[in-house]
């Protein structure tokens, strides 16, 4: 056994009372006890503290119990730390739950069709693209034709498509114009508006 092991075993055997440093000096004379103790303290295995007029040695766990018994300030701090520890545990569980919830939510969304990805912004981009591609020399295009393209792309029903078109032309009323006629479209002033163009 090494010198550290011999000393540690001796300290452990003394339990909660600890052992006087002077007793260890008397017992271990074949090596440099001060150096050995310093090594053990640096490793965090042993604590050396004054009790009464003498210096005592404890293992770390036993030393904490000793302080808990003799030092009320320490006892209060330990209780507070344990309380914080419990809180942290609770919160870390909550965070874990929340993350799991989010993961579940993302899984559900990703398994849904493209429909869930439709918002006014990306609808506008695609809508504008269709208008730009229109080969009409006057710029007007049937809304039904736009729906054929975008309805499939976004998996939109007829009603959903026209709800989005209504939102779009209301939000960007200086960018689009509607015109009467056609077979399907938006109803304005009681008239079917089935043609659209960008301004």
């Amino acid at each position: 056994m090494s010198a550290e092991e011999l000393v540690l075993e001796k300290i452990l055997s003394t339990g909660s009372n600890g052992i006087k440093k002077s007793e260890l000096k008397r017992e271990f004379t074949s090596f440099d006890l001060d150096q050995t103790l310093e090594n053990l303290v640096n490793d965090g295995k042993v604590c050396v503290d004054k009790k009464g007029a003498a210096y005592y040695c404890w293992t770390s766990e036993v030393y904490l119990k000793h302080l808990n018994n003799v030092d009320p300030k320490f006892r209060i701090l330990i209780e507070r730390i344990k309380f914080i520890e419990r809180k942290l545990d609770i919160h870390s569980n909550s965070v874990k739950d929340a993350i799991n919830g989010l993961i579940e939510l993302l899984k559900v969304e990703s398994t849904e069709s493209h429909k869930s990805l439709v918002n006014l912004d990306n609808f506008k981009i695609e809508f504008d693209t269709v208008l730009t591609r229109s080969n009409s020399s006057i710029g007007w295009i049937e809304l039904g034709q736009v729906r054929d393209e975008l309805g499939q792309k976004f998996d939109l029903s007829k009603n959903e498509f026209y709800e989005l078109v209504e939102q779009l032309v209301n939000a960007y009323h200086n960018e689009y114009e509607l015109s009467t006629g056609g077979n399907e479209g938006l109803i304005l002033r009681g008239l079917l508006h089935g043609y659209v163009r960008g301004i």
């Binding site: 919830g101 579940e104 939510l105 009409s136 020399s137 006057i138 710029g139 007007w140 049937e142 209301n170 009323h173 200086n174 114009e177 509607l178 015109s179 009467t180 006629g181 056609g182 304005l188 002033r189 008239l191 508006h193 089935g194 043609y195 163009r197 301004i199």
Partner: protein, 555 residues
């Protein structure tokens, strides 16, 4: 004497659903003015090419004007027809094809002849008679006989020919047409002479039935166009409004386009829908339309800027004493913007002019110098009784809407008012039995304004977070959500559309509901609160208030 707003002596706006000739002399809006300029350029260009040369089939132009109903196409066509600058250069026939039924060749031709103005017809008659007078040197005897000169008239030579011409124009004398043909035969074709004869005998339209074929109509139109150029030194413009995909219209227009009537311009006015239908119906005509010399684009004719310009133009046209100041202009602009923003149905020239015609009448009746919110509000109520502010549940009158909306501009200052309105709304719903256990004391946590139990017994907390800054909003919502340990559900009423999250949170369990309070909902709440505090909530309002509470997820 009745006065109109801004010191006007009359109501400047047109009262009829379709433009009248007088109203069409006023043209406002950049888009419309640009279109007008394009047409003038086309006319001037053709006119300049005809100076000193005989017209050929190359001297024909096709103009298309395509835009939605109520956008001002007819107005622009009328405006062009009556432009003083063009009266010296062109004779215009305007035909509304929707009024031509059945659309056979006779009816269409008759409408074209009817489409020339009385002044143009009279001017042509006078020119023909004066032309005959000038021919007295070459055809003295025939001319005198044509003018029914008697023995005594003959003694005076040709001095009184012009006087006789005027008498013929006034219907006091008749022209002896037996001799006219001889005089005209050197410069005019047979068909032109027939038309001149019909013109002088005032039988132009009754002779329409003599024409038997479409070719005959085209020849007659060519003849008229040529007569106009020879005698009036003017080109001829044929305007066809409401051009559509009906077979008869397509055949007729195709024939005119193919004929390339020299020294004429064919102007076709149609909607995008008609244009598309023509494409499907007759590719041959569509191809011709696609190759039009000028495609007049009225894109943007329904934009706010265009409508505003048009509305101002009418006032300025009649504002001789310049009572309509820039301040008035700014003030009126806010009213126009409001109508435009809140009533999508009125976003077109025709509807807007109709509103301002009636608003001007209302202002006059009230003796108001300006058109204010309440006048516009009353006008809309009267002429469009079913109209509401877009999305408003409380049926907020336009005048209140304008006032409240002004105060909604700052989200930070409006928050206490919204909080009070929500409390009063919940007090009302509590009274009506939709919620209970109402508590305005914050006992559950930071950021909570009200708690109550809904009809299922769930404890609900409400937090009003109307901040301009998204970070502050987010922080307050986070604080409020701590109360979820105590309550079953949290409703957050926020006005910040840039919020990071929204809708229902926590795995979709309806625990936190974020309600985005758009301007209309805020105005609805403030309006409700005003009526509630004044004890003016009536039965109808009560139902609307409950609907409002439901719309913001309070019950």
């Amino acid at each position: 004497m009745r006065m109109y707003p801004y010191g006007l002596k009359l109501n400047p706006y047109p009262s009829s659903p379709t433009p009248s000739y007088v109203d069409s002399q006023i043209l406002g809006g950049r888009t419309h003015k640009d279109a007008k300029q394009a047409i003038i350029t086309c006319i001037s260009d053709l006119y300049s090419k005809l100076e000193g040369t005989s017209p050929t089939d190359r001297d024909f132009r096709l103009i298309t004007m395509i835009q939605d109903v109520g956008s001002g196409k007819t107005h622009l066509a009328f405006h062009i027809k009556g432009l003083p600058d063009l009266i010296e250069k062109a004779v215009t026939s305007y035909v509304d094809l929707s009024q031509v039924s059945p659309r056979d060749i006779h009816n269409i031709y008759d409408s074209i002849l009817g489409g020339f103005s009385y002044d143009d017809i009279e001017s042509l008659r006078r020119s023909v008679l004066y032309f005959l007078c000038k021919k007295a040197d070459d055809y003295g005897s025939s001319v005198r006989k044509a003018f029914n000169y008697g023995f005594l008239d003959n003694l005076s030579g040709n001095k009184h020919l012009k006087q006789r011409a005027e008498e013929i124009l006034k219907g006091k004398q008749k022209l002896n047409f037996q001799y006219v043909s001889e005089i005209l035969s050197s410069g005019f074709s047979e068909i032109q002479i027939e038309i001149i004869k019909s013109l002088l005998e005032d039988r132009l339209r009754t002779d329409v039935s003599k024409i038997r074929s479409l070719e005959g109509v085209i020849n007659s139109l060519s003849a008229i166009s040529d007569i106009n150029l020879k005698l009036l030194n003017k080109i001829t413009i044929f305007q066809f409004d409401e051009f559509d995909s009906k077979r008869e219209s397509l055949e007729f227009i195709k024939a005119i386009v193919n004929a390339h009537i020299p020294s004429s311009i064919l102007m076709l006015i149609l909607t995008p829908s008609s244009y598309d239908e023509i494409k499907k119906e007759n590719s041959s005509v569509f191809d011709r339309l696609e190759k039009a010399n000028y495609k007049i684009d009225l894109a943007g004719s329904h934009t706010l800027g265009e409508l505003k310009d048009i509305i101002f133009e009418y006032i300025k046209h009649y504002d001789e004493k310049k009572y309509f100041t820039p301040d008035h202009e700014n003030d009126l602009e806010t009213k126009i913007r409001l109508v435009y923003d809140e009533f999508p149905d009125f976003r077109n020239v025709r509807s807007m002019l109709n509103i301002f015609y009636h608003a001007t009448e209302q202002a006059s009746k009230r003796g108001s110098f300006i058109i204010d919110e309440s006048i516009i509000d009353d006008t809309i109520k009267i002429i469009y009784p079913g109209s509401k502010i877009r999305g408003s549940l409380m049926n907020v009158p336009l005048s209140d809407f304008i006032q409240i909306k002004k105060s909604v501009n700052s989200m930070d200052t409006i928050e206490p008012d919204i909080r009070e309105a929500v409390r009063n709304l919940l007090t009302l719903t509590n009274y009506e039995g939709y919620v209970n256990e109402l508590n305005f004391d914050n006992l559950v946590g930071e950021g909570i304004d009200i708690t109550y139990n809904d009809s299922y017994g769930s404890k609900i907390a409400v937090s009003v977070v109307i901040k301009d800054e998204p970070i502050k909003t987010q922080a307050q919502i986070t604080n409020a959500s701590k109360s979820l340990n105590i309550v079953d559900k949290l409703v957050v009423l926020t006005g910040n559309t840039n919020r990071i999250f929204g809708g229902t949170s926590r795995n979709g369990n309806d625990v936190t509901t974020i309600v985005n309070m758009d301007n209309t909902k805020i105005v609805d709440l403030i309006y409700f609160n005003k009526k509630y505090k004044m004890r003016e909530i009536l039965d109808d309002d009560l139902e609307r208030a409950i609907t409002l509470a439901r719309s913001i997820k309070l019950c």
